[in-house]
């Protein structure tokens, strides 16, 4: 672990640009607009200059790991929780207990506690699926309401999901099934679902974008992504599966050895405030925010009305369990004929 002293001396070294006003290098793994308003919002609130880089969660993790010996980023904000947990496991991120914790939902704090305070929840979103209502009608299909519906023979070739090997969303799906139906039942479900899948996409949100464009009937994704399609004007209907479902906790971590540690902590506290979390409303982010006082979007899926399973992030976020499940999925499910 790099000491803060080294971070400070690095700051002094890279002087010139870094003056007393302070600056912050933000790695943002949410959508572009949300990242923008977070960066500008923090600048307005504190006067600290923010250099924001937006990448997907996987890319950010890859970068933080590659930069391990000489970190360039200060805070990693947003993106699904698993890479944050993995970074915590590998000591890539810094433990920090924010004074803002009192204002948060219990699930956000549980996320922090499971990672030795190296990360914290900032929003959550439930897994589900969405379908293209035009295509559903054109193909004369019944409206799917449950996970089980997707395995019916008439949905053959109509369902799309991401490949769990490349996408955190799809891994959450796999882990959800295993937790909901037990390991054998979960894999049995994945096998039956496999028969109906038309494509395993690489990226997690690709299935619902394909559904929006009419390239598949059903896409298995996080519900807030499906809602965003509807709001963007595509004929997509979002479904909360009747059996219950898993969820993700979008997280935030401070990068170990951050050059601007003080500013990083300032951002961390600010990002957990209701004021900062309300910015999500303006940019079509339909997740549920972690601050109890944050406002809710009228379009956001109502988490209290959805049957959420007791998702074990610590177990299913660990790299050993992940590797085991993915290897099993690779050998038992993906090789079956369709």
């Amino acid at each position: 672990m790099r000491s803060i002293a080294l971070g400070v001396s690095l700051l002094a070294f890279s002087a010139g640009a870094a003056s007393a006003a302070g600056k912050l290098n933000l790695y943002c793994a949410a959508q572009e607009e949300w990242c923008q308003v977070m960066a500008r919002g923090f600048e307005d609130a504190t006067g600290i200059d923010v250099d924001m880089t937006r990448k997907s969660s996987g890319e950010t993790f890859a970068q933080v790991k590659a930069e391990e010996a000489n970190p360039k980023g200060d805070v990693w904000w947003g993106g699904t929780g698993d890479p944050h947990l993995q970074a915590a496991e590998e000591g890539l991120t810094e433990p920090y207990i924010s004074p803002m914790r009192a204002e948060l939902h219990p699930w956000a704090i549980a996320q922090a506690e499971s990672a030795g305070d190296r990360t914290i929840g900032i929003y959550s979103g439930a897994l589900g699926f969405g379908y293209n209502s035009d295509l559903l009608a054109a193909n004369g299909l019944p409206e799917p309401k449950c996970w089980e519906d997707l395995t019916k023979p008439e949905f053959k070739g109509h369902v799309q999901m991401a490949n769990p090997n490349s996408s955190g969303t799809a891994y959450t799906t796999l882990a959800t099934m295993v937790q909901m139906f037990g390991e054998d039942g979960g894999f049995d479900y994945m096998k039956r679902l496999h028969a109906n899948i038309n494509q395993y996409t690489k990226s997690g949100s690709a299935p619902i974008k394909a559904a929006g464009q009419g390239e598949t009937t059903v896409g298995i994704v996080f519900m807030h992504d499906a809602v965003a399609q509807t709001v963007a004007g595509f004929p997509v209907v979002t479904v909360a599966p009747c059996e219950g479902t898993g969820y993700e906790i979008g997280s935030m971590s401070i990068i170990a050895g951050a050059r601007n540690m003080d500013e990083a902590k300032q951002f961390y506290d600010w990002a957990l405030s209701a004021e900062a979390q309300n910015l999500a409303l303006g940019v079509n982010a339909f997740q549920v925010m972690s601050n109890v006082a944050a406002q809710k979007s009228e379009f956001a899926p109502d988490l209290s009305a959805i049957k959420l399973i007791d998702y074990d992030f610590k177990k299913y976020g660990s790299s050993d369990e992940r590797k085991r499940l993915l290897a099993k999925w690779d050998s038992d499910v993906s090789t079956l004929p369709q």
Binding site: E59, F61, A66, E67, S166
Partner: protein
């Protein structure tokens, strides 16, 4: 020869590099300075502040003692100032001083990092080190170049390459930069293939991973799926062959037919090369996807359910043909034009029919072009990432697998490294096959001797299919671009077709206030960065590429083969691997440039240089060596020959290299994703962010704007570089190369 002439005064090149070395050592800040070109450091404590101090001042203040050995290396050449080049001491001193200094500079850079010694055995050997150092800056860079070129002058003085200072310097320089910016990062990355999860090294693990069924499985022969390696290979061969054929078709129409609208045709064929990634893929989905216009129309017509036929091999193939045919065309047009009509006329005089002439004279003379075009198509297809991502369906290829091995839910650098090795293996195999096919024959036709006449028209039997294919493909390209243009002016592509300009306004709005322009559109930041980076990268890429091509075709030196291989290497590796390997290699001292614009420029230079090399080689193998020889005999040195004789004849190749590197810098994505930073965001990574956010309209509008900017830039380059008339042909106007 020049080197043997006795000169009373010292060679000016020697003086230049000695002075440069001392400027770097005693005046410029030794370590990296943020925003160097703002020159703030001049007023903020230079030359004594240890952040900004030149090496000489650091040593004077008793800091960084490991820099001391550089002083004698820079002092020794001063003793040569009055010596003759023929003096044996001249060569030995330069070799010893330059070689030792350069080696020491590298050794100390690698050995001492931000946490003192970088390896345990060093601290075991020398005891703990309390001090540390950061990334090298301009001072170190300048000293390193000076030492390197002093060394190459030493080699020249020993009589290598006829004592030619320019050629030895160029070889040394290219080897040094290729080693630093290609071999070093790639070696770092590929090393990961042998690293176990516990951090140790394991050879059996490597073999277990290498012969994995996911890579080499042959399931598709028995109904399931084949390994990614076979998928990639099959696709790349198909794309290589078809792009070469299509490229040849367009090159023939432009040079050997009476076709009237050559300019327009040329513009159409070049359009795809200037199209940002994902856009062609989106247009193909809107045409051929499940709900695509063509698919639904055909399905209605023959009364079947629309299918997802385009996802997989067909989709990737169509998109890659659209994208890479222009590259084959750019390579082939130079070669087809360069075939001297004298040969063809000679054949016709000997009563050969037009068809016989074409088949036995013109076509064989185009071999270098065909081979290079195939090679480029093959490699591009192997490394392409955007199209398989959008259209791949369940047809997995190496490049996307590599990307998701790194950024996917399983962070598996080892797997990425192994897949990269497979990809690299295929590319190298193609490279050697190409060399084998070309053999040792001569393809020289432009000789400087009497060369006149015009190219004969194509034989009729060939002209008809050529015209048909050109017309069909040209029309198809136009439809695709029509769709793209249309997509940028509708509310929501594919859903709400109301016309609107709002996407352009969001991206490119400006406001005039206080007599100045405020760029309020959301795209301006990344737009200006992209323009700036591309403008810096393009001429550098072309220069490095053409000098390399010159060395490869015109000079003989030991290790030429491996030298050529090195220059092709970075092109063969997918951008994703380059991106990650650059972060691994250049985020820590001695070269610490991540997060700067410089790393983008450098990655573009070494990614795109091979095209300059290939275009240069193809053109230069047609220029007879007697041209150089006559220039040398008349007393010019090799630099003058290169500049006055070869360069003007290479204008088509220069243009191709400039255009290609500029355009690629504006449209590249896979390497860029890892290298962009907040201050240096590129257009493509911004566009991908928009696509991910369902903002298709904005993404397409931005892409369309970029297409027009690139068109303008290409036109401007054509004007600047000018056209070249190879030979003294007058009739049917050249396509404007």
């Amino acid at each position: 020869m020049r080197a043997v002439t006795t000169e009373k005064t010292t060679h000016p090149v020697l003086i230049f590099w000695i002075v440069t070395g001392w400027v770097g050592f005693a005046l410029l800040p030794w370590y990296g300075v943020e925003d160097f070109w703002f020159l703030d450091w001049l007023t903020e404590g230079w030359p004594t502040d240890s952040d900004y101090a030149p090496a000489a001042f650091l040593l004077g203040q008793g800091e960084k003692p490991w820099l001391w050995p550089l002083a004698p290396a820079l002092l020794a050449p001063l003793a040569l100032l009055r010596r003759r080049k023929t003096d044996p001491a001249y060569a030995y001193v330069l070799l010893a001083a330059g070689g030792f200094g350069f080696a020491w500079l590298i050794a100390q850079g690698l050995g001492i990092g931000i946490r003192g010694w970088t390896a345990d055995w060093l601290s075991a050997l020398f005891g703990p080190l309390e001090d540390r150092q950061y990334g090298m800056g301009y001072g170190a860079l300048v000293v390193a170049s000076a030492l390197l070129f002093l060394f190459t002058q030493g080699i020249a003085a020993r009589g290598a390459i006829n004592g030619d200072v320019f050629v030895t310097g160029a070889i040394g320089g290219v080897i040094a930069v290729v080693t630093i910016f290609v071999f070093f990062p790639i070696a770092k990355m590929l090393g990961a293939a042998f690293i176990t999860e516990e951090g140790g090294y394991s050879i059996p693990l490597f073999f277990a991973k290498f012969f994995d069924d996911h890579i080499w499985g042959l399931g598709c022969l028995s109904g399931t799926r084949c390994g990614v390696a076979w998928n990639s290979l099959f696709l790349a061969v198909l794309v290589g062959v078809l792009t070469t054929l299509l490229g040849l078709v367009f090159a023939l129409v432009l040079t050997r037919s009476g076709f009237r609208f050559k300019r327009e045709l040329r513009a159409i064929t070049v359009l795809p090369i200037i199209t940002p990634p994902f856009v062609i893929g989106l247009a193909i989905i809107l045409l051929f996807g499940l709900s695509g216009a063509v698919t639904t129309w055909v399905a209605d017509l023959i009364g079947v359910r629309p299918t997802r036929w385009v996802y997989g091999l067909p989709g990737i193939l169509i998109a890659q043909l659209l994208a890479f045919t222009p590259i084959a065309f750019l390579v082939l047009i130079g070669v087809v034009e360069g075939v001297s009509p004298s040969m063809e006329e000679a054949a016709q005089t000997l009563r050969a029919t037009r068809w016989q002439t074409f088949r036995t004279v013109s076509l064989p003379l185009m071999r270098p072009g065909l081979a290079n075009a195939f090679l480029l198509g093959f490699i591009e297809s192997m490394a392409d990432f955007g199209n398989p991502l959008v259209l791949g369906g369940n047809y997995d290829v190496l490049s996307t697998e590599i990307f998701f091995a790194i950024v996917g839910a399983q962070y598996d650098q080892g797997r990425a490294a192994i897949l990269s090795m497979v990809l690299l293996g295929f590319t190298l195999a193609a490279f050697y096959l190409q060399r084998f096919w070309l053999g040792k024959k001569s393809y020289t036709t432009v000789t400087g001797k009497g060369d006149s006449g015009v190219h004969p028209q194509m034989p009729r039997g060939l002209a008809i299919p050529v015209y048909t294919i050109a017309a069909l493909w040209g029309g198809f390209t136009l439809i695709i671009y029509g769709m793209i243009l249309y997509g940028s002016v509708v509310q929501l592509w594919g859903v709400d077709n109301t016309l609107t300009f709002k996407h352009y306004l969001t991206a490119f709005a400006v406001r005039i206030e206080d007599g100045g322009i405020r760029w309020i559109g959301s795209a301006w930041d990344s737009f200006w960065t992209t323009i700036m980076i591309s403008t810096v990268a393009a001429p550098l890429t072309a220069a490095v590429g053409l000098i390399t091509a010159y060395l490869l075709t015109r000079q003989d030196f030991a290790g030429k083969r491996s030298f050529e291989f090195g220059t092709m290497l970075s092109f063969a590796i997918p951008g994703t691997v380059i991106g990650v390997s650059y972060i691994l290699a250049f985020n820590v001292p001695p070269i610490e440039i991540t997060g700067t614009g410089l790393i983008l420029v450098i990655s573009f230079i070494f990614r795109n240089m091979p095209v300059g090399v290939r275009a240069g080689i193809a053109s230069m193998s047609q220029l007879d060596r007697s041209l150089d020889e006559s220039s040398l005999t008349l007393g010019a040195n090799s630099w003058q020959t290169f500049r006055r004789v070869i360069l003007p004849l290479l204008r088509p190749a220069i243009l191709a290299a400039l255009v290609y590197s500029f355009v690629r810098a504006m449209t590249a994505i896979s390497a860029v994703i890892f290298l962009v930073s907040a201050r240096y965001d590129m257009a493509t990574s911004y566009i991908i962010g928009r696509v991910e956010n369902n903002d298709y309209g904005l993404a397409i509008a931005y892409s369309t704007a970029l297409i027009f900017v690139m068109l303008a830039a290409v036109g401007l380059l054509q004007l600047l570089v000018g056209r070249t008339q190879i030979g003294r042909r007058l009739a049917h106007e050249q396509g404007g190369s």
